[in-house]
């Protein structure tokens, strides 16, 4: 199962979204997301989640304009 995911991602000609991959392998999207987490931790592939930017610059969000002025980063500091 996990191997199939890695193969599919590797052989895919073009970028791939989790949704598209889930459809192809007929795995529920959220379950696939969990499997991808695991594979990512194992360094087998990487998952990019633009939504999860914490403004640290290590996981910068798309269209970040100023690293230091990121609203999400300043929010995080306040917390």
């Amino acid at each position: 199962m996990l191997e199939r995911i890695v193969e599919e991602v590797k052989n895919n000609p073009g970028p791939l979204t989790v949704g598209e991959l889930a459809r192809r392998l007929d795995i529920e999207e959220s379950a696939l997301s969990g499997m991808l987490d695991y594979l990512e931790r194992k360094g087998r592939l990487s998952v990019f989640r633009p939504d999860e930017c914490d403004g640290s610059g290590d996981m910068a969000c798309v269209a970040c304009v100023y690293g230091s002025g990121c609203p999400r980063a300043s929010k995080k500091e306040k917390e």
């Binding site: 199962m1 996990l2 191997e3 890695v6 991602v9 590797k10 895919n12 000609p13 073009g14 970028p15 791939l16 979204t17 989790v18 949704g19 991959l21 795995i27 529920e28 959220s30 379950a31 997301s33 969990g34 499997m35 991808l36 987490d37 695991y38 194992k42 360094g43 592939l45 990487s46 998952v47 990019f48 989640r49 633009p50 939504d51 610059g57 290590d58 996981m59 910068a60 969000c61 798309v62 269209a63 970040c64 304009v65 100023y66 690293g67 230091s68 002025g69 990121c70 609203p71 300043s74």
Partner: protein, 679 residues
């Protein structure tokens, strides 16, 4: 004798509805505290079922029971340590495949399990049909459908809890890891049971099978406990090592992956049997939108359309407030000029240098703010992630792989954090390529330059001309990435998947906050770097004493003319050289330079008039292209040095982009001339 007190723990994935079910079960009788020693919230409550007093503990939501997170450790420690009479596993029916993964691990802990199949309403709405009796059969546990939100199924759930406490026997289940693995697990279990210390200390809480499986999973806490109790040289660890070697030779995988894979396999099997998804599967609004916006055919055209629209709006809406600021700046300059007549140099410094230089950039504040609003909206709706996805697809067409294009979209904002963001790329080669081409993405600092020149030369088509420059940046970034991949950093990149967030409506507050956070940084820049740049340009334009301000005889003129031959073939004169030189510090200073060079805190119209004497529409376009491409700004160069670890690469970035800028401007100029445009 029947029990009259019992403890029940609620476990489940985050957002499966645990808290809702907890409230349904306990009503108002609850108490909120913290788990000992940590700040994770602990909710406890109680209820009566018939004669039975039931204490209920809401465990933290987790996806799994590894030792990687505090929450997971709390859950397993509680279940193993406190041995609740029943664990109610709240399973989100609409994400059943993911949720059942936790179920497999709860089952391994060997406590009586009751499953509350929650959110069945959502599942039904999505065309997911679950055969509940069959699911119960497959899991060897009672399964109660619930709708937490409407308090449905609570009575049934209570009844099953009472039955389970009262001694009803359920078969339960455990994942079968396959003959080879099971044999190894059994051997390890035997080794664990044979160790006296371990038996005494741990086996009261944990089953040997659980410990064995955890050792296979490379669970650090279990390994540490066993090492402490049995010693690293004990039979347990010898056995483990042997199993590892043996199974690796068979499966070619590490033990953890074998275990995890089997669990997912088990869940997939259960789902295949007991869950049916309608052919006409539920299509979310996000999917529907994405079918168009990220489609192979329409993705890029829509992306281009949004970009064009953004620039159109920027210039269309920005025109009006710009006039006001313009008037304000000119009025201020006039006031200073009339009230402060001596010393003459100070008047010139304030009016020509400071107000002329900084003011020239500040008039474009409305445009900057509007573009930030647009970027904020695109980002907050979730479209920006799609933009990255679409751009990535373009890269793939060129035989490039990987997520290297994602920081590129960030470059539209500012190249500095974009270069920093390349840290997300694991492949060193991808990273280098991305860093090197990132400055070609047109950042917002270039916008005032486009705004100034398009208003002077292309007033009717400001948005479209600006759009063409952005597009040029993207195309050249893609081409250069291809070139670098081929000649400097050949190789494949690692595979990756992108998780696109659902679309959302942007909120007014969010948009305004984002806009302000970014816009205020621009203002700060105007008050610092741009101000300093303007003063230096004033100095160079004012001295040596006695020459006409900003003339070819001034220091600025002297420097500009020294390099003029280099840009002559592009149709630029010495003033362009000075502007570009100072623009290296920050690209907005290109605008300040023209503001300061033309002097007298002129209104924008006057600067435009001056520009029209220096440039033609053709050379103005070449100049904008040159500004877009030539060398990253100082801050970006410093960041490139930091991120690549070498000055060599920073220098290379400067050199190649200068060469590229010259070449492209030259081509545009020559082709323009061929078509009979005025040079």
């Amino acid at each position: 004798m029947a029990k009259d007190r019992a403890t029940v723990a609620l476990a489940g994935n985050p957002n499966a509805g645990k808290t809702t079910i907890f409230n349904n079960l306990t009503g108002a009788r609850q108490h909120i505290g913290n788990w000992p020693g940590v700040t994770v919230e602990k909710k406890e409550g109680s209820t009566r079922i018939g004669d039975l007093d039931v204490g209920i503990v809401d465990l933290p939501g987790t996806y799994s029971l590894t030792a990687y997170s505090l929450e997971e450790v709390i859950v397993r420690d509680f279940i193993a340590g406190e041995r609740p009479d029943v664990v109610v596993n709240i399973v989100d029916a609409s994400n059943i495949e993911r949720n059942l993964y936790l179920t497999t691990q709860l089952a391994e802990l060997g406590v009586p399990l009751v499953i509350a199949l929650n959110m069945v309403d959502v599942a039904r709405g999505r065309g997911i049909h679950i055969d509940v009796p069959l699911l119960g059969e497959l899991l060897g546990s009672p399964v109660i459908p619930t709708v937490g939100l409407r308090n449905r199924g609570t009575m049934e759930l209570k009844q099953v809890i009472a039955d389970a406490v009262g001694g009803a026997k359920y078969r339960g289940f455990h994942v079968n890891y396959g003959r080879e693995v099971e044999e190894e697990i059994t051997r390890l279990e035997e080794a664990i049971s044979a160790d006296d210390t371990v038996s005494r200390e741990l086996l009261g809480k944990y089953f040997p099978r659980w410990l064995a499986v955890k050792l296979f999973e490379e669970d650090e806490r279990v390994a540490a406990d066993l090492e402490r109790l049995a010693g690293p040289d004990s039979e347990i660890f010898h056995r483990l090592e042997e199993s590892r070697r043996h199974l690796l030779s068979i499966y070619g995988e590490d033990l953890e992956t074998i275990i995890v894979d089997n669990r997912y396999g088990f869940v997939a099997g259960v789902v295949r049997e007991a869950v049916e998804r309608e052919r006409e599967e539920y299509v979310s609004t996000t999917d529907r939108i994405d079918n168009v916006l990220t489609s192979r055919i329409w993705g890029f055209p829509f992306f281009a359309l949004f970009m064009w629209l953004m620039f159109f709006l920027t210039f269309f809406l920005g025109k009006f407030p710009m006039e006001w600021i313009d008037r304000l700046v000119t009025g201020f300059a006039n006031m200073v000029q009339t009230n402060l007549t001596s010393p003459a140099w100070l008047q010139s410094l304030l009016v020509d240098g400071v107000i002329g230089g900084v003011g020239a950039v500040l008039v474009f504040l409305p445009q900057i703010f509007i573009i930030f609003i647009c970027i904020s909206i695109l980002e907050d709706t979730g479209y920006m992630s799609r933009a990255a996805f679409i751009m990535d697809r373009v890269m793939h067409w060129l035989g490039l792989h990987g997520k290297s294009f994602i920081p590129m979209v960030m470059g539209f904002g500012c190249n500095v954090p974009a270069v920093m963001a390349t840290r997300t790329l694991e492949s060193e080669k991808d990273r280098m390529i991305t860093i090197l081409v990132n400055p070609l993405m047109s950042c917002t600092a270039r916008l005032p330059v486009y705004a100034l020149f398009t208003s002077a030369f292309f007033a009717a088509n400001q948005g479209t001309v600006t759009f063409s420059l952005y597009l040029m940046g993207i195309i050249l970034a893609v081409v250069m990435a291809k070139v670098f991949r081929k000649f400097l950093f050949p190789g494949e990149s690692e595979p990756f998947v992108m998780e696109l967030p659902p679309y959302r409506w942007p909120t007014l507050k969010g948009t305004v906050v984002h806009m302000w956070e970014r816009g205020s940084l621009f203002l700060r820049k105007a008050g610092t770097i741009i101000l300093a740049g303007s003063i230096i340009i004033w100095l160079l334009s004012y001295f040596p004493r006695g020459v006409a301000y900003g003339s070819a005889q001034s220091l600025a003129g002297y420097i500009g003319r020294a390099f003029e031959p280099l840009v002559k073939p592009l149709g630029f004169d010495w003033r362009a050289v000075v502007a570009l030189m100072f623009g290296f510090v920050a690209k907005e200073i290109v605008v300040s330079t023209f503001g300061a060079l033309t002097g007298a805190g002129e209104s924008r119209a006057a600067i435009s008039g001056q520009l029209q004497q220096i440039f033609t529409p053709l050379t103005a376009y070449c100049f904008m292209a040159f500004t877009l491409l030539y060398t990253p700004c100082l801050a970006t160069v410093a960041m490139i040095r930091r991120e690549t670890g070498h000055w060599k690469w920073a220098a290379f970035a400067v050199a190649y982009s200068l060469a590229l800028a010259w070449l492209i401007a030259f081509l545009i100029y020559r082709v323009g001339l061929l078509f009979g445009l005025k040079g």
